[in-house]
Structure formats: C-alpha cells, structure tokens
C-alpha cells in the first residue's frame, strides 16, 4: 500500500489484471494535471453538482466553504456527511501511514508514555494512501454517491478530459472500468501530493520564521500562550517549531487524541441515542473496533488556516475559534457550559461517547487537567491573544476579503 503510494508513475502502471498502458508511462506532472481536472469535476457525483473541491474548497485552504458542521451530499445534496470537512493543506504528503508502534519492553512502554496511535488519512486514520481515501467520497452514499467503481468509470467516459485520460493510459483504458477507476484515483493522489497549492507556506507566521515578517505584541503573547506547556500546551500536539532542516511546521503531530467534544445536535444521526461516532474504533473504521482504549480518539488536525474555518472539531460542534478555545480551557472548570445538565444538576460530561468509554478522554495533559470551579488556563483576553496568533497561520490566498 505504501509502496504503491510512493512508487514513481512508471512503476505503478503494469499491475496484473489491469489494462496495459502506453510506453512511456505518464509523467508525474501529467498525472497531477489530470488529477486536478478530476478533483474539480462535479460530473463525477450522482448529483452532478458535487466535486472534491466543493467541500475542499481551494479558496478556503482546501477546507469547507461554509459553516455547516458537516457538508451535504447524496443524489440531491440533502444527506449529511458523517464528520466535519478537514483542510487538505499541508498534511497530505507528511501524514504517516497509520501506526501504533509497539515498544517491546513494558518498562519502556510505561516510561516513554506509551504513545497513542498516529497517522493515516481521515479523522480516524483509516486510509493509508490518498488513492484509498479518494475512493471513499466517490462511493459514499452521503457524499458523491456513485453506486460503484463502474459508475465512476462511466462518468469518466463522458468527462471533458476523457481524451486526455486515453492519451495517458491508452486508448482502451475507458473500456476497462476497474482500470479506469484505479487510474483516476492515482491521478487524484498525484495532484494532491504534488500540486504546490497544497503547501504554499505563505502565512505571516512563515514570514516570521523566515525573518521577513514581524508578529505584533498581541500575536507574540498568543504564541507564548500557545507554547506554554503548563497552561495552553497547544504546541505539544500542534507542533510549531521549525524542523531540523529549517522546514516550517505543520501544526500537528498526526497523533490521536480523545478530547471529549460535546455531542452536536446539528448532526441528524445524533438524534438516535444509540448512535455514537467513536472515531478510531468506529463505526466508519472497523479494524480497530476491538480496541476499546482507542474509542473517542480522532487525529489531531493541522492548525494552519484554522482561523478561516467556521466549523471546528470532528463533529463540527463549534463554529467560532473563540468558542473552540474556550472549550479547551474551560471544559473541566465549567463543564456545564458544554454538556447537558440534568434536573438534579448533574453534568453529562463527555456526552458524545458511551458512558463506559468516557474514561478514554484525556484528563492528563494540560489544559485538560483542571477541576470544576478552578481557574481556567486562559482568561478571555488571553484567548483573544491566542486567536491573534492563530490568524497568523492563514495563507496569503486564504485571507478574508476584509484583510486585503
């Protein structure tokens, strides 16, 4: 799987059972160019109105273009997706395959903190390659809603780039639905990995790291609060330091974390008290279903361009950055702000997880350690400082219009 993801184009072509391809094989740039056309093609959906770019909007750093908790799909664009749409910027070629390294020595496991799982694409890390990931929205009934790979291939035959498809993969490629479908996924993958628009590094913070921009006093205060391991402790997961080679940070460690985000009534499936989105242990992901300790974990997203989002966390529960940050620092000090309160006054904390799994929620790492009634890690003014810093992570092409 990993090898397929990484292999040069000419090595990926002669797969047994798949259509022969012309010699020479398509170049990576040709593949990426075709992938781009596929990415922006709404005709590949059952509705005819939904492309990859509809939810992963280039004008919004490849994140959602609106404030919906989850986006709408299906044949008539009325069915909710399962989770909030993440930005595709920065992380795609750096996301490790899903893994949970097993440290052989129990002593070392304890001593080194038994790191959580990391990597894989999607909130639950269930895809190890972008080509696998791309298949999901194409076929998901609540997204692009194609009934089968052949259904996608039939649409490819009618696509305006069908001739280009044949040029790259052979004149008979579109007569072989399985092969055509596979090639389309490869092209999408190449576009997402190679196109510079996925990793522009044009934010103010990038300029700050390069010494070409200065942060304001408020932004610097926010950065300090972001880094303070005794309070906000954000940088422990959202890594913000330059790499050993001077590379700029992507503000994620790709690890999984159970935050205990409140249940979101905007998601219709949550009307059922029997439905829970347990992230890493299901229901969308199935191979870790027996790992009860993983339930409630979702992958840490990048914070680049977070300030232009209008929906936060895996279930889109919050719609402003201030609200999201207040949740972090007051989740435990003021739980009644976030969770249902019974008539007797008890708080149904971590209500988006089944009660037996709520012990998985992180109460060890700052700022998630505090007792009810204690002072939160940040006051509102400090939250504003952190927001000011987070706004420096917005790329030049994603700045709100008022900022230009």
């Amino acid at each position: 799987m990993v090898c397929a993801l990484l292999a040069p184009a000419h090595l990926m072509m002669n797969v047994p059972g798949e259509a022969a391809i012309p010699d020479p094989a398509p170049t990576a740039s040709d593949l990426a160019a075709l992938g781009k056309r596929i990415f922006f093609d709404p005709s590949l959906s059952a509705s005819g109105r939904l492309s990859c770019a509809s939810c992963h909007s280039p004008g919004h750093a490849y994140g959602p273009p609106n404030g919906r908790a989850v986006q709408l799909g299906g044949p008539d664009l009325s069915v909710q997706g399962a989770r909030a749409v993440p930005s595709l910027r920065y992380t795609l070629n750096r996301t490790p395959v899903w893994s949970k390294a097993y440290v052989a020595s129990a002593a070392d496991r304890i001593l080194e903190g038994n790191e959580p799982p990391a990597g894989g694409f999607g909130w639950d890390g269930r895809f190890n390659s972008l080509r696998e990931q791309a298949a999901f929205p194409l076929l998901a009934p609540n997204e692009m809603a194609n009934s089968s790979p052949a259904d996608v291939a039939a649409k490819l035959q009618r696509a305006p780039y069908a001739q280009e498809f044949r040029r790259l993969f052979g004149t008979q490629i579109l007569d072989d639905p399985a092969a055509a479908y596979t090639r389309a996924l490869s092209a999408l993958e190449r576009f997402e990995l190679d196109d510079p628009s996925f990793h522009p590094y044009t934010s103010k913070y990038d300029g700050f790291l390069e010494g070409t921009a200065a942060l304001s006093a408020q932004e610097l205060r926010g950065l300090a609060l972001f880094n303070d391991s005794r309070r906000g402790n954000c940088a422990s997961c959202h890594l913000d330091a330059q790499g050993a080679d001077g590379s700029h940070p992507n503000f994620t460690d790709y690890q999984f974390e159970a935050l205990g985000v409140p249940r979101n009534p905007e998601i219709r499936a949550n009307a059922s008290t029997a439905y829970f989105d347990d992230g890493l242990c299901g229901p969308l992901r199935t191979d870790q279903a027996q790992q009860a300790a993983y339930c409630g974990m979702f992958k840490t997203p990048s914070l680049r361009n977070v300030a232009i989002r209008a929906t936060f966390f895996h279930n889109g529960r919050f719609h402003s950055l201030k609200e999201a940050l207040r949740f972090y620092v007051r989740r435990d000090t003021d739980p009644k702000l976030w969770y249902p309160v019974s008539a007797s006054g008890s708080v149904d904390k971590f209500d988006d997880l089944p009660p037996p799994l709520r012990a998985n929620v992180d109460v060890i790492d700052e700022p998630l350690t505090r007792q009810e009634g204690a002072a939160p890690a940040w006051n509102d003014a400090e939250i504003d400082d952190v927001i000011a810093f987070l706004k420096t992570l917005t790329d030049a092409d994603a700045q709100p219009a008022s900022a230009h």
């Binding site: 070629n93 750096r94 490790p96 893994s99 304890i110 001593l111 990995l193």
Partner: protein, 447 residues
C-alpha cells in the same frame, strides 16, 4: 583532528587506578578495526538461549565466534549504557532514564549536564542533565589523539530531515521534547519512515563531538557504511553501529502479530534484529578491513525485565511490578549521581484498577551477553569471564594502545574495582603469535 586536547589533565580527570593501557597478550593485539553493533533490551537467556526469533545469531554466528556468557549492561534504561561504552561515565539522574524528564531526573530532554564536580575516576558529579561538557573525555577523542579514525553509523538518521539531520543528528539543545523518542511511520515525504533515536547514539551526548564540524563526517547514516567498507583505507578503525528502533529490537514483539509491530510495520524484536544482522554482518565480514584485522562485537545495551502481577481482591486493583534486578559484574561502582535513583521503585501508573511500578533493584544493566567475531577469534569458543560495557571500552583502549583508561574503564584499587580486558581472554583469542594468522607486525595507526 584532536578533540578536547589535554582535557583530562587540565581538569584533573585522570583515572585514579591503572590509567595506562595494558599490553595485549593475545592475537587481539593485531586488531586494528573494531566494529560494534548494539541491539536493545534483551536478556542473555533469551538471545542466546530460548528465543526462536534469532536463528541467524544463535545458529550461524555463535558457532563462528566467541560468546561472552557473563557480559553485563552497566545500567537501566538505555542511554547510560551507550554513554558508558564510549566514555566510561556513570549515569546522571537524567541519562539513567533516557533523559525523559520527571522520572528520577529533573532536567531531562536534550539539555546540558549540570556539573557540580569531579568524583574519583573522572566521574562527572552532576545534579542532572544529558550532554557532557567539552572537558569530558571520550573514546573518539582518545582514538583521534592516537591517529585512529572512527565513525558512528546510525540507521535512519536523517530519513526525515525535518526530524533530525542526516549527519550528527540530534535535537536542538533546550527545546524540550526529543521527537526522536518515537518512531515515525512511512509517509509520502519520508518513504522509509524514521526510527532513529538520539538516545541510542552515544556521540550526541558530548559537546566535544557535537560542537565540532567534524561531527558531520563522524556520525552519519548507516547507508554510508557500505561504501566505507569497500576498502581498508576507507574503513574507520572504530565503527559504532546503531540500528533503528525496529532493527535493534527495541520496538515490536518480533511475531508480526497485529498490534505488536514497529511503526514501519516490521515485526521488530529479535526477529528484526536478526534480519539486520543477516544483512550487515556478512557485509562487514567480507570487507577488506575486517578480513585483515577486524573484530566485530555484537551486544545489547541492557537486559529485559521481569514482570510480576498481583491482584488485590478487596479493591480490584491490579498491581504490576516491572522489575529490573539491576545486577552488575566486576564490582561495578554506581558513580556519584545515583543516590535516590538506584535502587528505586517508581509508580508511573496509578488508576483505580491498575498500579504499575518500575522496580530497579540495583544500578547494573543485568546479563546480556556479547558475541565476538574476528579472524583472531577461536571459532565456537566461550568465555565465562565477567565483562561489562566498561570492560569493552577498556579492551578497545588496550587493543589500540590508547593514552590510558578513561572513566570506569580504569581500575580503582581503593574500591577493589578491577576489570578484565576482553583482549586478553585466552579462552576466545589465540595466544599472541601462537596460532593466529599473523606473522608480521601489526599495522600502525592511519593518519
């Protein structure tokens, strides 16, 4: 290039015991290329006994070499063992715990040793910390002083150049968490993943090495070794090899079962260690330098643990003790820094249902064993003479005729501390000029 010139005498770090090296009395005197491969966390009785995961080591290499059955690690957990191998230094309260802060040390991470004085045998007394000052003597400095070459070859170092440099790779001093503590799985940008661990690279803990530009040519990625082995003149006299966290057996159970693998998907454990040896030992043994005058030492940093679980039926709370005997050999001394840290019991997990304690009953690293391969070795031989990592350092100093024994590589008659030299072990080496292949004087140092 000589690092840290005359440092020992300047700071009074000279050994108190036999500081001069010994005349080697076996054919080990002819050795001019020493190769060291250090694996991780396995007990002698497993590695060279019950394990079925390392058939190449047990069934192919052991009959070809000499097995040291009473070879001990010098501490728990990893880093202090590596440091002892190249400096003779005993642990600080941070290096004894891999510089993970908050266990027994208060400084931790990749920070300087906070030196408070110098104890007998050149031992650095310190309140904690991890990176020794330029004044602390090392085997590389000794080798260079004598005109011998050395290199550290680190598997995976720099695979992810954002994680660490491909040469002399270490975290920035003082930035906090060492991200090389956790293996990185493969990605599009880092196809092989990156399981280099700074804490398994002893050279990174000495300012005399990392502060010098030559560090970039001395401590390199393992993939450089193949070309360096091509000719005797390009093969360093001292070669230190650290496999990645999977290849050294640190990660993975070795079975390949789901949920027990390394981050890169390999089985790890002795299975991956054996696979590593199967690739690299033949390359080393085929090299001109080894065939002429080589000695390869394969050992481990420390032994594994013993686990005891007990359940308290009245509370339902299970207590798990992860116990290291911490045995030493050779009247090893603890050094000046371990009061309150070794022995010790440390509760690291305490929940209503589970208590996990790490119990370290001594300051040694327990019995790990070592295998030596060399043209001068008696194939299939065994020695039950007690050795440890300090003995290994001492032996290398003797073999190369270096300028004395540093740190705990030196004896101290006042404490009855005395180390045998592996190079003088006539159970495993032929007597000098008696049976060995050598008929001419050994080559001198390379300048």
């Amino acid at each position: 290039m000589i690092l840290g010139t005359a440092l020992g005498s300047v700071l009074g770090l000279a050994s108190f015991g036999r500081s001069h090296v010994d005349h080697v009395t076996t054919d080990a005197a002819h050795v001019r290329h020493v190769f060291v491969i250090v694996l991780e966390n396995k007990t002698f009785s497993d590695t060279f006994g019950t394990s079925t995961q390392d058939p190449y080591l047990q069934k192919t290499l052991v009959p070809m070499g000499a097995l040291l059955t009473e070879y001990y690690g010098t501490g728990h957990v990893s880093l202090d063992n590596y440091i002892s191998m190249i400096s003779g230094q005993s642990p600080t309260k941070d290096t004894d715990d891999d510089c993970l802060p908050g266990f027994t040390g208060s400084i931790g991470n990749y920070n300087d040793v906070e030196q408070t004085g110098v104890a007998p045998q050149g031992q650095i007394a310190a309140s904690g910390g991890c990176i020794y000052s330029r004044q602390v003597r090392t085997l590389p400095e000794q080798l260079e002083r004598a005109g011998y070459s050395w290199k550290g070859y680190m598997e995976d170092m720099g695979n992810d150049p954002a994680r660490e440099s491909a040469t002399c790779g270490h975290p920035t001093i003082g930035i906090g968490t060492d991200h090389t503590n956790t293996a990185e799985a493969p990605s599009a940008a880092v196809p092989l993943g990156d399981a280099y661990a700074t804490r398994h690279d002893p050279f990174m803990y000495f300012h005399s090495i990392i502060d010098h530009p030559s560090c970039n040519t001395h401590v390199v990625n393992l993939n450089v070794l193949t070309q360096d082995l091509a000719e005797e003149r390009t093969t360093p006299n001292y070669v230190f090899i650290t496999p990645n966290l999977c290849s050294d057996g640190h990660d993975g159970a070795g079975t390949g079962a789901a949920g027990t693998t390394c981050a890169n998907g390999q089985p790890g454990g002795l299975t991956s260690a054996d696979a590593f040896l199967k690739v690299w030992v033949p390359k080393i043994m085929a090299s001109p330098a080894y065939q002429k005058d080589g000695l390869l030492i394969i050992t481990f940093d420390e032994s594994n643990y013993v686990q005891d679980a007990s359940s308290n039926p009245s509370t339902g709370q299970t207590t798990v003790d992860i116990t290291f005997p911490g045995q030493t050999c050779c009247n090893q001394q603890p050094g000046p820094n371990l009061a309150g840290a070794r022995p010790g019991t440390f509760t690291l997990v305490n929940t209503p249902t589970l208590v996990e304690n790490i119990v370290i009953n001594g300051y040694g690293g327990d019995r790990i064993g070592a295998l030596l391969l060399s043209p001068f070795i008696i194939a299939g031989s065994t020695s039950s003479t007690a050795y440890n990592h300090y003995s290994l350092l001492r032996s290398i100093e003797d073999i190369f005729g270096l300028d004395g024994h540093i740190g705990y590589a030196a004896d101290d008659p006042r404490t009855g501390y005395y180390l045998d030299s592996i190079a003088d072990d006539k159970n495993i080496f032929h007597h000098l000029n008696e049976w060995g292949p050598w008929t001419e004087a050994p080559a001198g140092p390379k300048f």
